[in-house]
Symmetry: C2
Amino acid sequence: VLDLGLGDRWLLFKTDAVVEGVHFTAETPAHLVGRKALARCLSDIAAMAGDPTGALVTLALPAGFDAARVEAAYTGLNQLAREFGVAIVGGETTTSPGGWLISVALLGTVARDRCVLRSGARAGDALFVTGELGGALRGKHLEFTPRLAEARWLAGHFRVHAMLDLSDGLAGDLRHLLNASGVGAELLADAIPVSRAAKLQARDHPTAHPPLTAALADGEDFELLFAVAPAEAVPLADAWRTAFPGVRLSCVGRVSAEPGLRLRDRRGIRPLAAHGYAHFQQP
Amino acid sequence: VLDLGLGDRWLLFKTDAVVEGVHFTAETPAHLVGRKALARCLSDIAAMAGDPTGALVTLALPAGFDAARVEAAYTGLNQLAREFGVAIVGGETTTSPGGWLISVALLGTVARDRCVLRSGARAGDALFVTGELGGALRGKHLEFTPRLAEARWLAGHFRVHAMLDLSDGLAGDLRHLLNASGVGAELLADAIPVSRAAKLQARDHPTAHPPLTAALADGEDFELLFAVAPAEAVPLADAWRTAFPGVRLSCVGRVSAEPGLRLRDRRGIRPLAAHGYAHFQQP
């Protein structure tokens, strides 16, 4: 978030890279690779309740790359750019030291009085998440819709105290928000919106995370997590159903003055040791 | 060059990546790798007579990277950032599909009435280059000084019609400037400032480019090439010597209405088939 003298707006500035073998494979349809490269950056602009404006695309390609695949990647990227009013204003193509790498640098702006950081959550706030969580690697990570419209609407109609987009899993990203805000939280196990993909994943692979664990720990959901004053929780949930009838919104817990992250289920309440995608231990 | 409503200024937005095995090797001192990654972007801001403001750094590293080498790279990058008043405002570290890759996204601003494009050269203009050309891979490509101060001074004191920074070699980059401006040019072989490195390179390696060819075709000089009205050429050269006594400035030729690029030497004048670094054929 930069102050470059844009009147009553801040400048938002973000880069994000997708790497073959990490964020996609050589078999991933190329238009979805290009789409994902931009969508991840858009999700970050959404997390600030901002409006994306222009992007530069850096494409690192190995020798002997497939030109048709490059064109397909740009097609997917350009299509998403048009959908969200982003101008692709330049970039470069360079040699990759291995497989494909696409890095997108994205600019956006946000009204100073609507910019939402992750550091403003207060004890008593209600915690909400959009959409459903877990199992994104089964497909959603390539086709998610950045929650730009939803975030703008939220910041325009309610006092959102803190917000971020879920890239490393609810448990890990919530911890980032809590640490930045100097507070703790209690999550309600039954309220967490477990995705169908997380359930199928657990059914198909006996060694996969149980569905709730997947919803807490899987990465790449790219949904919004935000905190609002308790008095706004019910009016917000009501207005949301009218504004975004196709997108689920769940109140998943409450911010507490007591530090740490706790999970409440039928068996009681206990600390959640989860640190997110990389370090999660099953509760 | 973007209009984001910054009063009387444009926003400048640039990304540039350096790749192990292409722009540096595993043996290159890491602080110079970091320095080069930022310096290349700064050179592009200089080419627009702009002021750099903030940068994001994307560092893609292979498994088993050397942490001390990463720290050294950031030290070199941060040192150059401080020198030129650039704030490193964020970035990310990701997995590389091969060797190191560092991509820098840089913002800058420029007063609208001082922004210099590459498309404004006019027939009759004098063509100048700063510094000396050729053989940059012997060392200068890692340690060049982006010509930010020189470019600002030029745009502040003279009507610079067109400018760019030399990354692909004088012949190739001049052709870009001429094509963008819809004009041609004649270069004077004896006026081209051949670097000592280009001469040493030709002496040490019988198969290397002759020095003049190296000055025309070698890449990574990162000097400024610019066009000014003929009436300003002499006053500019005089004032330059006072302003930048340590930096050579050479009038290397003249813009012509006739399209194409020609080289004049003692043997006469002939077309220069050079397209720059990749495609140059010895004249």
